[in-house]
């Protein structure tokens, strides 16, 4: 069933998983720089904030941009720059954790299905296909409705939503590699399933899987931002970028930075990851051929 458009990256495996900087195109480098910037802010967040992220300033609410508050203040008079920098930890952290979980689970199941085949493959594929026929936001909403939205639960929710997609890609790639002669040779040599999965198949699908993980990270960021925007994601007092947009939506009519800054933060992060994936060295050629 064609429920979603999955882009399977070309099977060409780069010699190194992360190519040398000199091989990146200019657009790719730009994306990489923005991505590294946000990763740094997310990791170093608590130590480099200009103001406490919960401190209320004397400047008042929705204060304009000034030297003390570079991006103005929010609806409670808190420093927006600090709130956005602090929010990076939640947006990037939760999405990254969920993506890693989804891709690990999806890859493991995909490898198992491809290498084992048979009824295991059939049952698992049918089951996960059905999960895909629930729209991702809907699935996230009903899980949140049932279990609430603490941060660990959010991570698990988003991971569950994106596991079937990761499984599909991993299985499709692994099935191709599984049919290769060298895998048959390894089987004939008497290697066990675990060895074949981890030493023969996995290294040969790692490149495309990594690119797919980037895409899934974008989806995760978007889903989390949407959940928080609906008030069903990260709960106050902490706030990710989605909640920051929600909290400060009152600044919209005046065009205040309070609502634009977190929105732009989301946009720069997701577009940067897209740029990195589209401009991965080794994929450039494949892209050109498609044109």
């Amino acid at each position: 069933m064609s429920t979603a458009i999955e882009t399977i990256p070309p099977a060409a495996v780069p010699a190194r998983l992360v190519p040398r900087l000199s091989r990146w195109s200019r657009t790719g480098l730009l994306g990489l720089a923005v991505l590294v910037f946000w990763l740094f802010i997310a990791a170093a967040g608590p130590w480099i904030l200009p103001h406490g992220s919960g401190d209320m300033s004397t400047a008042g609410v929705f204060d304009a941009i000034s030297w003390t508050h570079w991006l103005g203040t929010d609806y409670l008079g808190r420093d927006i720059l600090s709130r956005v920098m602090d929010g990076a930890r939640y947006t990037v952290g939760v999405a990254l954790a969920a993506t890693v979980m989804a891709c690990a689970a999806g890859t493991l199941l995909g490898l198992l299905a491809a290498v084992n085949g048979g009824w295991f493959d059939t049952v698992l594929s049918r089951l996960l296909d059905t999960l895909v026929s629930i729209p991702s936001k809907m699935l996230a909403l009903i899980i949140v409705a049932a279990f609430g939205s603490s941060i660990p639960l959010l991570i698990v929710t988003v991971a569950v939503v994106y596991t079937p997609g990761a499984y599909r890609i991993a299985r499709a790639l692994a099935v191709n590699i599984n049919a290769m002669d060298y895998v048959t040779v390894a089987r004939a040599r008497g290697e066990g399933r675990t060895y074949i999965m981890l030493r023969e198949v996995l290294p040969n699908i790692a490149g495309p899987l990594l690119a797919d993980m980037g895409l899934r990270f974008v989806y995760a960021v978007l889903l989390l931002a949407s959940l928080s925007f609906l008030g069903l994601g990260v709960q106050p007092p902490v706030a990710d970028w989605g909640s920051l947009v929600r909290e400060n939506i009152g600044a919209l009519p005046t065009g205040g930075a309070a609502v634009i800054a977190p929105a732009l933060a989301i946009a720069t992060l997701t577009i940067a990851v897209n740029l990195v994936i589209d401009n991965l060295p080794g994929r450039a050629q494949a892209n050109q051929e498609n044109r």
Binding site: P135, I142, S226, L230, P253, I271, N274
Partner: protein
């Protein structure tokens, strides 16, 4: 239409119905069975055991899981999905009063976005590589890679705040004139359309380019046909299947978009109802709304596949 095509269609429809059944089981399992005791939740920790037992009896929690699922499914099919926990009104009434609003929003959006997206997609496929194509593709990528609420926020900023053409975040409930209705409708429809158009345009472009690259187009070109004739008489008729597929698939993005758009514009539709239900943990309401969305999604996806089957020329002429 021949027998094989009918068999394929019947098979696809059956898969759709079975999927919907499994989806309903998943939805019920997540919202009804896994979270634990709904009676306990409703009464809190200090409830007396007698009150708990009485409420459990009343809510039918004493039965086994499959029995409860069966009853819930039965009620759903008969149009009686139970009672809202929060407002104690029948869920069917709550949904009934909101569903027309959402259908209207989705319908108007589809009417606006489908022709525009097809036009943009076909033009950028024909002129691929031109500045028009690059600008359109870049715009589409930008819209697709940011959350829907961002698109809506920007639309408000541009059209309501800077240009002052339209009212911003309020949806007036008392609509007296068609003009007023149009004005309060415009922002939600426009934001939602942006999202749909971006998706649909990309898919249409890909579908048409796929056809333009085929050897028969080369042949037509060699025969000296004009560019307009190549596209209109040769490429488009063959691309209709993939395009219809793309349209149905993109319309399924409406369902995700509508959740955000109804919330941001405070639009009294069923998605807003569901989001409120989720934050108040009103399970019967959430279950019913989720099933409506899942059913709509499955219908659109099935429709997309059916378009693909019917338009496949190898199956049509035998």
């Amino acid at each position: 239409m021949n027998l094989q095509i009918l068999r394929l269609i019947a098979g696809r429809l059956a898969v759709g119905v079975v999927s919907l059944l499994i989806v309903s089981a998943i939805v019920f399992a997540i919202t009804g069975l896994l979270p634990g005791d709904a009676a306990q939740e409703q009464l809190g920790q200090e409830a007396t055991p007698e009150a708990l037992a009485a409420l459990r009896q009343q809510m039918g929690l004493t039965q086994s899981g499959p029995e409860r699922y069966w009853q819930w499914l039965n009620g759903l099919l008969r149009g009686n999905p139970g009672q809202s926990i929060v407002s104690s009104a029948p869920v069917a009434d709550l949904i009934g009063s909101r569903l027309p609003n959402s259908l209207m929003l989705a319908g108007v959006t589809a009417l606006v976005s489908v022709p525009l997206a097809l036009l943009l997609g076909i033009l950028s496929a024909v002129w691929r590589g031109s500045w028009f194509d690059r600008a359109a593709s870049m715009g589409a990528v930008a819209v697709v890679s940011v959350p829907e609420f961002l698109v809506a926020t920007l639309a408000v900023l541009v059209f309501a705040v800077h240009l002052r053409w339209l009212p911003a975040l309020s949806y007036s409930v008392d609509i007296s004139s068609p003009g007023q209705m149009l004005r309060s409708f415009a922002m939600p429809v426009m934001s939602l359309s942006c999202v749909i158009i971006a998706q649909m345009m990309r898919m249409t472009r890909a579908a048409v380019i796929d056809q333009l690259r085929a050897p028969y187009i080369e042949m037509v070109k060699l025969k000296g046909a004009s560019p307009a004739r190549i596209v209109l008489a040769h490429a488009l008729p063959n691309a209709i299947g993939p395009i219809a597929n793309a349209v149905a698939l993109s319309l399924s993005y409406l369902l995700g978009g509508v959740i955000i758009i109804e919330t941001i514009f405070n639009y009294p539709g069923i998605a807003k109802l569901m989001v409120d239900g989720v934050s108040q943990r009103d399970m019967p309401l959430v279950q019913a709304c989720a099933m409506i969305f899942c059913a709509a999604y499955l219908i659109l996806v099935t429709l997309a596949d059916l378009c693909g089957i019917v338009a496949n020329p190898r199956l049509r002429h035998q």
